[in-house]
Symmetry: C2
Subunit: 265 residues, 2 copies
């Protein structure tokens, strides 16, 4: 099933949309957070006259399991340039995530780069990177790796084999299989679809649940492979952040992300 | 007027709180965004049985002017550890900002630092930095500088005098005047209270309105001066981000922030 089909929503009511968390888009049996953000964002976008996401924040309240979901949307404000939209995505078990975002018309963004004060992530060509495939007999790499094509920098891929690099960084290429074109909604998932950078830090950490994730999207046109880089700098006070940068193949920054995750106590 | 008084809210109804944007907390006649986030977050916290902010996102829809405001809150979910809360802060002119946040009990955070993969911002001692004071006959530095004590790194302070450093960075010390203690709500303002880092980049930019701001707070106990650092790395596609780190005097990371601002077209 394509990403487009797996994130599709239908209008059920004035402000209520329905969709489904599809099986196979999960990690440890929980649906990928960025995938669920994409579902909710499609409902928010539809509610905002098809404006596209520019900045979207999700707070996660319950793991998402495969099955039907409903998305209650509210256009808080429809301005000349931006629409501010809220949404709750709920499964039969209850609220899964609460979202808030700003959406704009497709041509809001410009191609101009006035300042780039940080390098594009350095990656060997995709064919020289490590293709992440779902494990046959282990929970990791997760089933999600069947839904996307991820090629991880050889220096960062040891975590897939239980050999962390020692550096809390994760770099790699991302695209959808079968040539499916990528949209701003794909970026919401791509920013959350790599193994956690902190897994490369050699810390005694189990899975860290995400409390909040914010993704900023700078363009609506995405060219070729995505070149991705994720880093965690601070594991302190019971929390950690993961910062992401997503560039497209033509060398433009297309998205930035940050998520805050919890250390189990 | 203290920060505590200037951000005070009173319950008007079950879920509605009232407060005021006080005069003097502004920049170019618009109330500081972080200050308004603090007002809304106090209402959200009160609605969540005094749990304190851990991650708060605001989308700004209209400039804030001095005068009464109301904050409509909704506790989306009250969990064992976190409460997820929404709020709209409105003035007589209409919606000013929409917020979404997670709040936790004061003792959720721990002091443990498992990983710090980035240096604490380097700053000369406060007395060797440049005290930011409101201009007598110019809009910048703004009146807000009377409400806080900000001491800016000499290398970054040239922007106050129209002499940008050429590097999109802003570092400095922050505290409240008169020994007023700082709280997580203060951090929401501190993360937005310095001159924009991009002003040091020598770009032909006027003021850039903030579309969205997210602040993560890692502790509820804040010790002494705040040591702050803000950077902008990407001015592309019609947007720029500003990333902030706020440390306290004892050398702990107390907050991280990111805002997305618009380039006027």
């Amino acid at each position: 099933m394509s990403f487009d089909s797996a994130t599709a929503v239908q209008r059920a009511d004035n402000s209520i949309w329905t969709g489904a968390i599809q099986p196979g888009w999960d990690i440890f049996d929980n649906a990928n957070g960025g995938y669920m953000m994409a579902i909710a964002a499609r409902a928010m976008s539809a509610a905002a006259d098809d404006r596209l996401p520019v900045s979207v924040t999700a707070h996660f309240t319950r793991p998402g399991k495969p099955g039907p979901v409903s998305i209650a949307t509210e256009v808080v404000r429809a301005g000349r340039t931006f629409s501010t939209v809220r949404a709750d995505l709920s499964s039969e078990a209850g609220l899964v995530l609460a979202m808030l975002g700003s959406f704009a018309d497709a041509d809001r963004s410009t191609g101009d780069a006035l300042l780039i004060d940080s390098g594009i992530p350095e990656l060997p060509p995709p064919e020289a990177c490590v293709l992440a495939r779902p494990a046959v007999d282990a929970p990791l790499p997760p089933p999600l790796m069947d839904k996307v094509e991820e090629r991880i920098h050889p220096d960062d891929a040891g975590t897939l084999l239980g050999k962390p690099s020692g550096r809390p960084q994760m770099r790699g290429w991302f695209r959808l299989p079968d040539g499916e074109p990528m949209t701003p909604f794909t970026l919401l998932m791509a920013a959350d679809a790599f193994p956690p950078a902190v897994f490369n830090a050699s810390l005694p950490l189990a899975w860290t649940p995400t409390l909040e994730m914010t993704t900023h999207i700078r363009t609506t046109h995405i060219d070729g492979w995505l070149r991705c880089q994720f880093t965690t700098r601070f594991v302190t006070g019971g929390y950690l952040e993961e910062d992401g940068e997503v560039w497209d193949e033509s060398g433009r920054l297309v998205a930035q992300s940050r998520q805050m995750a919890l250390l189990p106590r």
